[in-house]
């Protein structure tokens, strides 16, 4: 283990004695990153990354970008311990989490199993803080798991049956924070603090009860409380409601490089809230060092122009990590029985898919840089199968028309629209969240080819929440959304999202609801393939054999490709990433995904560094 070097950023505090020296701040067994092995270079400390977000609450992106998790994905999307020194898993049922000795919160207090205990006993276990009881994921097959704390550096989670989703859960972009800084939060907790002492705090915070106060200060994800200790690489140094949020390096961070440089390399991250329409303009004006959020492909031309006109940045194009950039979901639970029957006919969905000119869309929207095809695992995933990608996804209007004719939809009206069995013309209403122009453009192109199928596409933009509510209620006929968020499944990825277990998959909101509410609400799936998916999902969670799981996954993907529950248009659309020319270790090519991936998170921004941090400081 190399000797850790003091950072210049905190040097003054250390000299003043306000902060212990670096060697005492890092854990006894820090995480040492072998950058060279990853193909990266060793860096130097210093500098400021400026980046932009469009909403105040997006400062929580710092928790996402920082991506310090108990266990986290690497760039290969494999799970490995991060904050934890180690995890031992028995039968996917019992998880023993081993903490690093000497690991400290950002305020210097030790990070121990007591922090897990506080969460479990005083937060989850407190009826006022958590009126709805323990989180759903703690319950497996109807039985609540147990949590125990054998010693200060060990925490054990145990269930009666296997809970394979546990570790991936901890690696999410937004993980359940199963540890809380107990030493800090206790002062707001009724179990530990006198009500009389709490009263003035409650008043000051303008909340109504101690529980609300606790909830207010306890925001591990929102990241808006500068007093709340954290384990992330950068800590929030600006409280309150400003548009400029400064994050400075965590002096107690648990990682360092092989040369003994304490991570993160970059001292300060400044995240500024601006209008979403201005992000491109500001990037173009060179006001950011690292930016991807808020940029989309149509900004590339202007970014490239700025670059060639002497902008001090490069525009990288990463691939998007969702399974499909644009996917149309016919609602199999649509309230209109006639349409519902038509949409449930797989021939109809296949015909729709065959009637999409994906090449044209790709060309018009992405310069042909995306992958045309249906919704399936991305090429970067071990489960990728080109067959699935291309199933029913080549433009073939004759075949599509034949399929529709075959369904008996042969009647047409004077305008050439096919008629539904009850005589109405086929006006296929697709609702969108109205947030992305690409959806609108793609639908405009699809409209033309579908007209040749005798189907009129009617696009209807709504608000995101309204759209979701309408889909759940079975009121919308079809919706456009991204494909699965996770386009990079691995055999060990829980396939739950691909089976009718969630109403959030817009093709089967009611089936998903049925599963989620254990039969209280919604409808039972009556489609054999959907039932098969459910079965496969069950089988996956009841085995721990990786190859078997891979087989299950393959079958699931085949079913989706064949059934076209979601009609994907293309995937891997390029995502512009603006990077300062001086910022190093940013991968040239990578996947831009929220989960898994945490956007920049898996690429470890704490390893990014400025070539000449001093020069930057002088320039400012």
């Amino acid at each position: 283990q190399p000797a850790v070097q003091e950072s210049s950023f905190w040097a003054e505090e250390v000299n003043n004695g306000d902060l212990p020296p670096a060697a005492e701040r890092i854990p006894d067994d820090p995480l040492i990153v072998d950058l060279e092995a990853k193909g990266r270079t060793l860096g130097v400390q210093g500098g400021t990354i400026r980046t932009l977000v469009s909403r105040t609450k997006d400062i929580r992106q710092m928790v996402v970008y920082g991506y310090a998790r108990l266990v986290g994905y690497g760039e290969d999307y494999a799970l490995r311990p991060d904050i934890l020194r180690d995890v031992t898993v028995e039968d996917e049922r019992k998880f023993t989490l081993h903490l690093r000795r000497g690991h400290r919160w950002s305020d210097g207090a030790p990070f121990t199993s007591a922090d897990f205990e506080y969460w479990w006993k005083n937060v989850v276990g407190n009826a006022e803080l958590t009126p709805s009881g323990p989180p759903e994921w703690m319950i497996v097959d109807g039985k609540l798991g147990t949590v125990s704390f054998p010693d200060a550096h060990t925490v054990v989670f145990e269930w009666e049956s296997a809970n394979p989703g546990f570790l991936p859960l901890l690696a999410q972009a937004r993980p359940p924070f199963i540890y809380r800084p107990a030493h800090y939060l206790k002062q707001f907790h009724l179990d530990f603090t006198d009500p009389d002492a709490l009263a003035p705090l409650i008043l000051e915070a303008r909340v109504k009860s101690w529980a609300a106060l606790h909830n207010k200060v306890d925001n591990m994800y929102k990241f808006d409380n500068p007093d709340l200790p954290t384990l992330q690489p950068w800590l929030n140094a600006t409280g309150g409601n400003t548009s400029r949020n400064v994050f400075v390096r965590n002096p107690y961070y648990h990682r360092m490089d092989t040369a003994g440089t304490h991570l993160p390399y970059v001292d300060v991250v400044v995240m500024t809230v601006v209008g979403s329409g201005l992000i491109a303009a500001k990037s173009n004006a060179g006001e950011v060092e690292l930016q991807a959020r808020g940029l989309d492909f149509r900004n590339v031309a202007i970014l490239k122009k700025g670059e060639s006109e002497g902008g001090n940045y490069r525009t990288l194009l990463w691939g998007n990590g969702t399974a499909s950039q644009i996917a149309i979901y016919p609602n199999l639970n649509f309230a209109d029985p006639v349409w519902r029957e038509v949409m449930r006919d797989v021939r109809f969905r296949r015909a729709l898919s065959l009637g999409i000119d994906r090449r044209m869309i790709n060309r018009a929207l992405y310069f042909g840089l995306a992958n045309e095809g249906g919704m399936s695992a991305l090429p970067q995933s071990p489960l990728h199968d080109p067959k699935d990608l291309h199933a029913w996804s080549d433009l073939n209007l004759d075949r599509a028309n034949a399929l529709l004719d075959d369904m008996g939809l042969t009647e047409r009206n004077s305008a050439g629209l096919r008629l539904l069995p009850d005589g109405r013309p086929m006006e296929f209403v697709v609702e969108t969240a109205g947030e992305r122009q690409e959806e609108e453009n793609a639908l405009a192109i699809i409209t033309d080819t579908w007209r040749d199928l005798g189907i009129r596409l009617v696009m209807r933009p709504l608000d995101r929440d309204i759209l979701r509510n309408r889909v759940y209620a079975g009121l919308s006929m079809a919706a456009v959304w991204y494909g699965w968020d996770n386009g990079l499944p691995r055999p060990e990825t829980d396939p739950q999202f691909a089976a009718p277990t969630q109403q959030e998959f817009f093709a089967w909101p009611k089936w998903g609801q049925y599963y989620q509410t254990m039969g209280d609400l919604g409808e039972e799936p009556d489609d054999p393939h959907a039932q098969r998916l459910l079965k496969l999902n069950w089988e996956w969670s009841h085995t721990d054999d990786t190859s078997k799981r891979a087989n299950i996954w393959e079958e699931i993907l085949d079913i989706h490709a064949d059934q076209q529950y979601a009609i994907g248009v293309l995937n891997g659309a390029p995502q512009p990433v603006v990077v300062s020319r001086r910022l190093r270790n940013v991968p040239e090519e990578a996947i831009w995904a929220y989960d898994p991936g945490a956007h920049f998170g898996v690429h470890r921004p704490d390893e990014f560094y400025f070539e000449d941090p001093l020069q930057q400081a002088a320039a400012e």
Binding site: S54, R55, T56, K57, V124, E128, L129, T130, P131, S132, P135, E136, W137, L169, R174, P175, P176, F177, A205, R206, V207, K208, S209, A211, A212, N215, Y221, K222, D224, T238, G240, N241, T242, S243, R244, V273, V274, G275, G277, L278, A281, K282, N284, A285, E287, D463, R464, D465, I466, R468, N469, Y472, A473, D485, Q502, Q503, E504, Q516, Y594, D595
Partner: protein, 342 residues
């Protein structure tokens, strides 16, 4: 005396109206199905994030969202006790914003003065540009002054605000090094007032003021011009000329006051219209005014925040109309608010 009596009765009317408006506001906000927290729970579920669901449910209970709507209304206004006793608008508690996870008063407090600032600047701009130009265009009607000012005004009107803003930002940055978006350089935020901060605010306000102001200025100018043209041929203008008044002073004192009548009538709408009219501009320009908060709150059904902003705008409107009615009486002594026969 009579005026005082009128003012008092007008105030009473205003309170009554405000109460009716509060009911309507609450109903309208609760009209769309669902509420913020259930939407949030759905969203959290959709993205598979279990964290946060518990907190949302906590808030549901804490803010009585599980009760019938009329009860929610009474609690919100402060007519009925909520889970924590009486604390509603009339008790000075504006509620909680779920979206921002902070008390409404706190959020709005910051945005409020910026809103007032930027709108005042825009109103000032409108008046400073439109008043002299409108009067001038009328006094010199059908000359190049008239045509040019009209043309530029219509140019501003016919360009969508967003496009105008983008263009001004882009070229302003490129050629004049003007800042893009925001109302002050971010590093001044939360800092005490200083000369540099004032300077930064002023520089940042150039483009927004211009964007928000252009359409208003053009509209006011053209209407003022039309009204002035009507007044200019009235005999009392001749009398004023016969007195030997300077045209500029004469125009200001006599016909302008007469021509101002329709504008005074609309003073009530000046601020509120700019608040709601500048919502989209503010969203696009990234101004931290109350407008974007309203839009976000409405879209995500963050009901207390939305309700408060709406009530605030309503209050502005009501106060505005009240002032406008009183000004009308002061402006034109012939006006009686009474019935036809009196």
């Amino acid at each position: 005396m009579m005026f005082l009596r009128y003012a008092i009765s007008r105030l009473a009317t205003m309170l009554l109206t405000l109460w009716i408006v509060s009911i309507l506001v609450f109903v309208i906000i609760n009209l769309p199905p669902g509420d913020y927290l259930s939407n949030q729970i759905a969203e959290l579920r959709a993205t598979g994030q279990a964290e946060g669901v518990a907190k949302a449910e906590f808030l549901r209970r804490e803010y009585a969202l599980d009760r019938p709507i009329w009860e929610q209304y009474l609690i919100w206004v402060g007519f009925a006790p909520g889970p924590q006793g009486f604390s509603g608008l009339i008790q000075g508690n504006f509620g909680w914003s779920f979206e921002f996870d902070r008390p409404v008063g706190e959020i709005v407090g910051d945005a409020l003065w910026l809103t007032v600032l930027i709108n005042l600047a825009a109103v000032l701009f409108v008046y400073m540009v439109a008043l002299p130009l409108g009067v001038l265009a009328a006094a010199k009607s059908e000359t190049w002054v008239d045509y040019t000012s009209g043309f530029i005004g219509y140019l501003g009107l016919a360009t969508p605000n967003f496009l105008l803003a983008l263009m001004l930002f882009y070229y302003g940055q490129k050629y004049f090094d003007l800042p893009i978006g925001g109302l002050m350089a971010p590093e001044f935020e939360g800092q005490p007032m200083s000369w540099d901060k004032v300077k930064s605010i002023l520089i940042h306000m150039i483009v927004p003021t211009f964007v928000i102001g252009t359409s208003g200025a053009a509209a006011m100018m053209q209407r003022l011009r039309a009204n002035m043209l009507d007044e200019l041929s009235k005999p009392y203008v001749e009398t004023a000329i016969a007195k030997g008044m300077k045209p500029s002073k004469m125009l200001r004192k006599y016909p302008l006051r007469m021509a101002f009548n329709p504008f005074v009538a609309d003073i009530g709408n000046l601020l509120p219209a700019m608040v709601s009219g500048s919502v989209l501009v503010s969203v696009v320009l990234g101004l931290q005014t109350i407008g974007p908060y309203l839009l976000t709150a409405l879209k995500s059904q963050d009901q207390f925040l939305a309700a408060f902003v709406l009530m605030f705008v309503a209050l502005l409107t009501l106060i505005g109309t009240m002032i406008s009615d009183m000004l009308l009486v002061l402006l034109d002594p012939r006006i009686r608010m009474g019935g036809k026969k009196a």
